[in-house]
């Protein structure tokens, strides 16, 4: 290159300046390429930072959450003492229900550890077993009163602290005062382990029960059902209304101030903070219309109002992608505008609309801020059975558990997050599948 330019240098002043310019270009090239590389590296680093964060987040939640799917159980031989349960022998359901099953649990523990004496020690002993254990026995007896008088070998859930110890979340080397389990209790646990009385099993309670103050009895089923009822309401409202609004705006609306106003409104509503919708729900649905607090119906209404803009926007995009020639073809046959729209345009846009709606639903499922406003943060033990029962939602349950100090709840919070993420991934996968399956290139 430089040889050629040397050769050309003699030819005239014009080429002389040109070659001088070339020299300058060459001189700066290295610097420029370094800048180029730096710039590229910044970009790459940015991408890596984002992905790294995702990986760390996922890994930490997975690591925290997966043990929660297993729970420690203690095998106990429980003598269903007729003297304790039903001294009169009436076998009346009410008597069976009110009996002191706690004493039975305590009794069976004392058979294993006869030397535990005194009130404090006994209380510590019972603290190894979940508060749910007596209810488990109660349930068995209520179901089959003839069991009274027999000795059953039962697996009862261990308390949250014991569970944490077994999962290595309580450090035995810490001084006793800084542990949630005393030396004495740990000694008992070791004995239980020796006797083969401690097992880890699939944590059924987590998937089947409502909330509880005891981590080992707390489950997400109530929250999952609450979320389900809410999403049903949200879907039933936001999909038809959103599609209708989109059809009007895209196919029928004249372009005037009014439709411009609607359009600006929709775009703005899509960017309004979700908590403001919660305020709307509180002021309008609860205080003005007097709807019940904590009801999935109200939660669903609020989420529907919140997702509506998303549904409208994606539905309009789907309608817009249907080529005008289809409309012309139908109109040219003498179909009315309404017929052309509902016979041809809307069916072709439905997959796109559904995709948008599912993504909107996924967003609604993960939303918690507006639900806090309408009282869905209450501590609710019962699994909701309908749209008006007090309920909470999965993300709100996560928020509630995240606030609890016990370690066992941290684990369960992460497990609940895993379940929530699984639902979200499933919904998004469905949306992607629909898009791929029905995507039409015009």
């Amino acid at each position: 290159m430089s040889n050629t330019s040397n050769a050309k240098r003699e030819k005239g002043a014009g080429s002389k300046t040109a070659s001088r310019a070339m020299d300058k270009v060459h001189a700066s090239l290295r610097k420029r390429y370094r800048a180029e590389k730096r710039f590229r590296a910044y970009g790459l680093i940015s991408v890596v930072v984002g992905i790294l964060f995702l990986v760390v987040l996922m890994a930490s939640i997975l690591a925290k959450g997966y043990p929660a799917f297993r729970q420690t159980f203690i095998t106990l031989d429980v003598y269903l003492d007729p003297g304790v349960i039903d001294p009169e022998g009436s076998r009346d359901a009410e008597v069976l229900r009110l009996a002191d099953y706690n004493r039975l649990v305590r009794g069976s523990l004392q058979i294993i550890f006869p030397d535990a004496s005194g009130r404090t020690e006994r209380r510590k002993l019972v603290a190894l077993v979940s508060n749910g254990a007596p209810f488990q026995i109660q349930g068995l007896v209520m179901e089959d009163p003839s069991l009274v008088g027999q000795t059953l070998t039962l697996e009862v859930p261990a308390s949250g602290d014991l569970d944490m110890l077994m999962k290595g979340r309580i450090d035995r080397s810490l001084p006793e005062s800084e542990r949630r389990l005393s030396d004495l209790q740990i000694g008992w646990v070791d004995t239980l382990i020796e006797q083969g009385r401690i097992h880890k099993r699939w944590n059924k309670a987590l998937m089947t029960r409502g909330d509880s103050r005891d981590p080992e009895m707390a489950g997400i089923w109530g929250a999952v059902k609450g979320s389900f009822y809410m999403l049903v309401v949200t879907l039933l409202l936001s999909f038809p209304i959103g599609v209708a609004a989109a059809v009007y705006l895209d196919e029928f609306a004249p372009r005037n101030r009014w439709t411009d106003l609607i359009e600006i409104n929709i775009n703005n509503l899509a960017a309004v903070p979700s908590i403001v919708f919660g305020l709307l729900g509180l002021a309008v649905f609860l205080n003005f219309f007097g709807m019940p607090r904590s009801a999935p119906l109200v939660g669903g209404l609020v989420l529907a109002v919140m997702t509506l803009p998303t549904v409208i926007i994606s539905s309009r995009a789907a309608l817009t992608s249907v080529p005008p020639s289809i409309r012309e073809a139908a109109l040219g046959m003498g179909a009315s505008k309404m017929q052309a729209t509902f016979h041809h345009v809307v069916p072709l846009a439905i997959p796109g609309m559904l995709t948008g709606t599912i993504i909107g639903m996924a967003r609604a499922l993960g939303e918690s801020a507006p639900l806090l406003m309408i009282g869905m943060v209450a501590f609710i033990v019962d699994v909701p059975q309908g749209f008006m029962d007090p309920a909470t939602a999965l993300p709100v349950q996560i928020y509630l558990w995240a606030d609890s100090p016990e370690r066992a709840f941290v684990e369960r919070t992460s497990a609940a997050i895993l379940v929530l993420l699984a639902f979200l991934i499933a919904m998004n996968a469905l949306a992607i599948y629909l898009r791929r399956r029905f995507e039409r290139r015009w």
């Binding site: 420029r32 800048a35 180029e36 730096r38 710039f39 590229r40 970009g43 790459l44 680093i45 940015s46 991408v47 930072v49 984002g50 992905i51 995702l54 987040l57 930490s60 939640i61 609004a245 059809v247 009007y248 705006l249 029928f252 609607i262 600006i264 409104n265 775009n267 703005n268 960017a271 309004v272 903070p273 979700s274 908590i275 403001v276 305020l279 509180l282 309008v284 205080n287 109002v305 509506l308 009315s336 505008k337 309404m338 996924a362 967003r363 499922l365 993960g366 939303e367 918690s368 801020a369 406003m373 943060v377 993300p395 709100v396 996560i398 928020y399 995240a402 941290v410 929530l420 993420l421």
Partner: protein, 462 residues
């Protein structure tokens, strides 16, 4: 009949109306020489009849359902014994509440006085009468509607056009809901805010430097009336949003540039969906992560440097929020960058510019308005974000610019003021609505500016 059975009843009648209307249309068509002699298809006449059967009855039902409780309540309270009627209105209201609870079969706190149970019985008997009237009226309207439609069916009736008009009205109604939502938001926060400003002057709220909303339960309690100066909240919100933008703006922008200008196809096809996952993670998960992982790490790191870091530092919340917004910024910037015409790039490349020079000196300035618009939307999002700050930022209203201290935000205060049982009239609860108003107005302004800027930008390159 209960409202739901009545609904079912109307639905069935309407279906019957459809069949009868269609049958009549067929009959008329045969008399006039085939279906082609009709203006519309026989099914349209059926649908027309069905609409006439159902719609007036449903409208009546809606009006009835919304008015009935008020009317019942008014009628029953008029029948209350004179000595109760003379009580102050709040007391009467309480008694009426008891009556309603008794009617609903709920447990009523005190022993039920005979007046109340009598009123409840009166209520129930009135309700039964009302239900009968309602059923009769609905049935009557369906019948009238049917007869009306039936008489109208003839070949010249433009049934299809009329149905289409009804559908059109329904479509218009659906599209107007967006307006109603905005109006609803404005009204609901505005009214409560006005009531709040009767307790606390606007100027004190907007410019006061002290925020401690704990109002006294008793008059003589220490810390009396609470302070409602929101400046520390605004400052805290801006601090956290600022930290978030410091993270999200450069990373998001560079990500977009790298992915659209540099990345090989394989990298892009992996990195893009991964980053989109980041956008799909619920904010409560980010909050959990910020509070349980990031905040302790920052605290530990700060302490190893000899800094005192609050366990709920603004930095932790801001950092995590920033990460949450990265995909938002990057996808907005991506759109904007791709909207820059290829001709501009070609021009720069033809002059011998490198990729980074083209990007920084040609594409970036050209895309700047769009990018600014996108960043404004991101700021609006950061300001309105709730769960991360509720879980990871503090409650104490410190007026500070130090990111290592705990600050609180507007959204955090809205949540803390409104969660839990509150009486609705205390300034404490109303303050939440005033904060909501500020939040709504601030984000509204940001959104409108951002959307306008982005739209103008797009039009420029169309």
């Amino acid at each position: 009949m209960t409202a739901s059975t009545l609904l079912l009843f109307v639905a069935l009648l309407s279906a019957a109306g459809f069949l009868l209307g269609r049958k009549r249309a067929f009959g008329i068509a045969d008399a006039h020489g085939g279906v082609k002699s009709l203006h519309s298809l026989p099914g349209h006449y059926g649908l027309y009849t069905a609409i006439w059967v159902a719609v007036p009855a449903l409208l009546l039902l809606i009006v009835w359902q919304s008015l009935e409780p008020a009317i019942l309540s008014e009628l029953v309270s008029r029948e209350l014994p004179a000595e109760i009627q003379e009580l102050p209105p709040e007391r009467v209201g309480l008694i009426m509440n008891d009556v309603k609870n008794l009617v609903a079969g709920n447990f009523v706190s005190s022993a039920v006085s005979p007046e109340i149970s009598e009123a409840a019985e009166h209520w129930l008997s009135l309700e039964t009468t009302f239900r009968w009237i309602r059923t009769l009226l609905v049935a009557g309207l369906t019948g009238l509607g049917f007869l009306f439609a039936w008489r109208l069916i003839r070949p010249e009736l433009r049934a299809r056009n009329r149905i289409e008009r009804v559908v059109r009205v329904a479509l218009v109604a659906c599209s107007t809901i967006a307006i109603f939502t905005t109006v609803g938001i404005v009204l609901s926060v505005l009214f409560e805010s006005i009531r709040f400003f009767q307790y606390v002057p606007v100027t004190e709220f907007l410019f006061g430097l002290e925020w401690s909303p704990q109002t006294a339960i008793r008059e003589d309690q220490v810390g009396g009336s609470g302070a409602f100066g929101a400046v520390p909240l605004f400052a805290g919100t801006l601090l956290i949003a600022g930290i978030a933008m410091l993270v999200a703006a450069p990373i998001g922008l560079m990500t977009a540039i790298y992915l659209s200008e540099y990345a090989p196809r394989a990298v892009r096809s992996v990195a893009k969906p991964l980053l989109e996952i980041l956008a799909g993670i619920p904010t409560v998960v980010y909050g959990f992560f910020a509070a349980l992982v990031v905040a302790p790490e920052i605290r530990g790191f700060g302490e190893s440097l000899g800094l005192s870091v609050a366990s709920e530092s603004a930095l932790a919340a801001g950092l995590v929020m920033g990460v949450m917004i990265i995909p938002f910024v990057s996808s907005l910037s991506d759109d904007v960058i791709n909207a820059v015409p290829q001709a501009m790039r070609d021009g720069a490349y033809a002059l011998g510019a490198t990729k980074s020079e083209t990007t920084r000196q040609v594409i970036f300035p050209a895309a700047l308005p769009g990018i600014v618009g996108g960043l404004l939307l991101a700021v609006s999002r950061a300001i309105g974000e709730t769960m991360i700050v509720v879980m990871a930022a503090g409650l104490s209203a410190n007026l500070t610019a130090n990111p290592l201290e705990a600050v609180t935000t507007v959204t955090v205060q809205i949540v803390t003021l409104l969660v839990g049982d509150q009486e609705f009239d205390s300034p404490k609860t109303l303050a939440a609505f005033a904060l909501g108003l500020v939040l709504f107005v601030a984000t509204l302004i940001l959104n409108v500016i951002a959307l306008t800027v982005v739209r103008k930008y797009r039009e420029q390159y169309e």
